[in-house]
Structures are given as C-alpha cells and as structure tokens.
C-alpha cells in the first residue's frame, strides 16, 4: 500500500453566527495516499470550500482529527491572475519557499528556481518576468512550481482549470499527471467539471449536505 498523505477522522466544522453555531461539515472521514488524484465534487454549499480551508489549516474551528503525513499542503488557485503577487518577479516568487526554509545561498536558490521552471516546462528566462507578462496557463504552471518548491507531496487544486481554455486545460492536466507519476504528488482536485474529474481522478469524494455521500473509485 502506498504511503498516507492526509487523513481526516470524523471532522465536524462550524461557523459561528453570533451565539449560534452553524454546522458546515458533518463527520467527514477519508484518507489520501501518495501519488493519487482524488476529485472533490459537490454542489455549491455542500461544504467543499470549508473542507479545503480545514485541510489547509486556514479554518481552525473544527472537531475531529486532520493528520498530515507530509509538509504543509499547498494550493493552486482558481484564478491564475490573482494568485501571484503582481509586484514581484517570477524568480522572487519562486524563491520565497526556499527563503522560508533557509540554508540556501542566493545562487543555489536561483538554480533551484530555474530548474523548477524547466520541470513545469517553462523557459528559465521567465525568472526575470512579472506575472502580468504571462498567460493564464503559464501562471498556473508557476503556481504548481511554487507548490513543488516547498517540498510538499500534497497539493490542493481548487478548480485550477476553470479559468483556462480547453487546449491549455489539456496541457495542465498533462503536467499534473506527469508530476503525479514522477514526484508521487497527491492532488485533491476540486471541480465542477465531471468530464475532467472522470478523466483525471482515480477516486472521487462526493459531498452532499455537509456529509460525504460517496467515496469511490472511478
């Protein structure tokens, strides 16, 4: 059996509304393993984004256990035009996780960033560019590179394809697959597009009315 990446045990999440608590997740349990792509689908209001926030550690008001077996999860955002800091160069953005980890010289950081650019099939010249000079698909590749540079094995992708056109979607899917195989990255793939989910994901987590309705192989 592959190694576990993330495990949720009986997670209940609440939002406070004045003195009342409103439950937004009810007894959610599941496990993710390395190298798998799991689709997260459900209607709006079913608790998808709350689940994401809990998993990312952005929402702390929940009961139950969320266990990470890898470094902090990273996220790829829906809107590639907002997810990169507009005032910084791509190189600066990519080096940020290395600066946080510490222990790299400027030259080493640069090399690693350029290496990562190649790995997501972008030219090393992008190092000096600003996000505004890149297309949506290129920016999504930068987001993926940024996530990988933190050294995580778990990426949460929140509708990463919905802002892209179809040909670019296919390219990004290709890249996600490639990284899944090469780097054993596990994705939790949030999407409305069932075609993409059935094409990309091995398993699907279906949320309905705050509960896990189904968690099954495709």
């Amino acid at each position: 059996m592959a190694e576990k990446v993330l495990e949720l045990k009986h997670v209940n999440a609440f939002y406070k509304e004045g003195k009342k608590k409103r439950q937004v997740l009810e007894d959610v349990s599941f496990t993710l393993y390395e190298g798998e792509i799991v689709g997260l689908v459900g209607e709006s209001g079913s608790g998808k984004s709350t689940l994401c926030k809990c998993v990312l550690g952005l929402l702390k008001e929940y009961d139950g256990e969320i266990i990470h077996y890898t470094k902090r999860p990273q996220m790829i955002f829906q809107d590639p035009f907002r997810s990169l800091n507009p005032r910084k160069t791509i190189g600066w953005i990519l080096e940020e996780p290395l600066k946080v980890q510490g222990g790299y010289s400027g030259e080493e950081r640069r090399q690693k960033a350029e290496e990562m650019l190649r790995q997501v099939h972008l030219l090393p010249e992008f190092y000096h560019r600003y996000p505004r000079e890149l297309s949506g698909g290129q920016r999504q590749r930068i987001s993926i590179a940024l996530a990988l540079l933190t050294g995580t094995k778990f990426i949460l992708a929140d509708e990463p394809l919905s802002a892209l056109d179809v040909t670019v979607q296919a390219q990004i899917i290709e890249l996600l697959r490639e990284l899944q195989e090469k780097e054993k990255i596990c994705y939790l793939f949030v999407s409305h597009d069932l075609d993409v989910v059935s094409m990309l994901c091995g398993r699907v987590l279906f949320l309905k009315d705050r509960k896990v309705e189904e968690y099954a192989d495709i």
Binding site: R72, M75, R82, N85, P97, R132
Partner: protein, 285 residues
C-alpha cells in the same frame, strides 16, 4: 474602490488622451526636482548670510544686488527664502516620516488582523482625528514648548490618523488576496507578509497620500509659524517670513510675495507628483 476620481476625470476629460506618460507626473517631478534642488543649494550656499542685518539696505525693492529685495532689517530675502524653505521642507519631511511611519504600521496591523485590536486602535485613531490637526499640534506645543523638532513631532502625531486610515483600508483589501493566502501556506512570517508581500502592492495609493500629507505639513508648518508657535526667530521658515512681512505688505510687498510663491510652487510640484504617481502606477490594480 479605485482612487481615480481626479478632477479632470470629473470634468469628463480622459487623461490617456493627454499623453500616456501623464503630464502630472512629468511636470510634478520636474518642479519638485527644481524646488528641492534650490533648497539643497540653500543648505550649501546662499548669496548672503540669511541672518545678517544691514541697516543701509532696509526694505529695498528687488534689484541686481538683492534679486528678491531685502526685508525690514536689511536681510537678503533670496537667501532667507532658500534657507527658510529648507527648514520648512525638513519639518514637512519629518512630519511625513513620523506620521507615515507610525500610520503605516498601525494601519497594516489593524487592517490585516482586524478584530479587537482593530477596534481599539481605530477608536484611538478616531479620537485623534476628531481634533483639528493644528489644534492638536497646538496642545502638544504648549506642553513641550516650541522649536523645530517639536513642531515636527507635534505635526507628525497629528498626521498619524489620516495615514493609518488609508493604509488600513488597503490592507483590508489585500489580506484576502490569493497571493497572500499562498504566502501564508508557504509559511512566510506575518511581518514579512505585511511589509514585503502586501506593502509594495499598496505603494501607489500610499505614495500619493504621502505626497498629500507632505503638502499639508508644509502648509501647517507655515500656519503654525505664522501664529508664532512654529519656527522661532531668528531662524527662517517660509511661514515665519510670511508672518513677519505682514506689517510691511504695503511698503515692501516683495517680502511676502517671494516666500509665498516659493511655497506655492513647492506644494504644487509635490502635489502634481503625487497625483501623477497614482495615475501612472495605480491603474493596473
């Protein structure tokens, strides 16, 4: 919300048609450079000693020897304008530095974290803002006494609320941005998120408000010196000179005109520069 409600826009004139560089920015920058250049010159050299009195040339009209004329004590007005503008400028810069520095930190923290800290600091801010800034500065001066640095400090404190409010609004706008969440997930420290990730993104709005603040400080300093609670004689400042020349307005109008014009040009230059920065760099937000 975009800070683009400029006067020209209200009149229905599209600035893009007036040239892509923006004449505000270019003209403002040029004027600021010239005025600041003159002031820097005044620090290094002036044609006469600005405090030397000469009985033989009292209230002389502008001539070739004294190009801006002389005042009631026979002091060279050109030299005094240069040196006086220097102290006006340094007080204004100090004010913006103190007010801006504390305002940015307070605004960043309150805007980013929100909650009870935000409530508390913003109520303090409201209390400060409820006083007219000159009045507040007056109170501070009457406690600590007069002097150049105390004027700076007093005006600086009085200016904190306006900066804090602007910065807070901008941080409030940015804190939910995807790139900030991304930085959080990477594990970037909070101070670094505040001042390295977010601050550069609010720079256009911040710089133009600093320019407006600078102008207000110049005018406030002049006002305070005019009232006699600012820069003390024999030191020169533009406000001080305006106040002293009041009595001689009929017999020697040049005593008031030249410091006044210098003040107007300095304020105009920086004001246009601030507006220009917003037009030029603030549009892509």
């Amino acid at each position: 919300m975009k800070y683009r409600g400029t006067k020209l826009r209200q009149l229905g004139i599209n600035k893009r048609k007036l040239g892509k560089t923006g004449y505000n920015f270019v003209f403002g920058l040029l004027l600021t450079i010239v005025m600041v250049g003159l002031i820097v010159l005044g620090f290094l050299w002036s044609p006469y000693d600005p405090e030397a009195m000469q009985g033989s040339v009292k209230l002389n009209a502008p001539n070739l020897v004294h190009i801006f004329g002389t005042d009631q004590f026979g002091r060279d007005i050109f030299s005094r304008v240069l040196v006086g503008a220097g102290s006006t400028l340094s007080i204004a810069l100090g004010t913006v530095l103190i007010g801006g520095g504390i305002g940015i930190i307070a605004g960043a923290v309150t805007g980013y974290f929100g909650g009870w800290l935000d409530e508390m600091l913003m109520r303090v801010n409201d209390a400060l803002a409820a006083f007219p800034s000159v009045l507040l500065a007056l109170v501070i001066i009457s406690i600590w006494g007069t002097g150049k640095y105390k004027v700076m400090l007093a005006l600086g404190i009085a200016f904190i609320p306006s900066f804090a409010r602007i910065v807070r609004g901008e941080f409030l706008r940015c804190r939910e941005a995807d790139y900030v969440i991304s930085a959080k997930l990477i594990g970037v420290s909070t101070p670094r998120i505040l001042f390295v990730h977010i601050l550069p993104n609010i720079l256009p709005a911040l710089l133009s408000s600093l320019a407006i603040g600078f102008n207000n400080a110049v005018v406030q300093e002049a006002g305070m010196s005019y009232l006699g609670i600012g820069v003390q004689p024999p030191d020169a400042s533009l406000g001080r000179m305006l106040s002293e020349s009041q009595t001689y307005l009929a017999s020697g109008p040049w005593c008031a005109i030249f410091p006044g014009v210098f003040l107007v040009l300095l304020v105009l230059g920086v004001g246009m520069l601030g507006e220009g920065i917003l037009d030029r760099f603030g549009g892509g937000r």
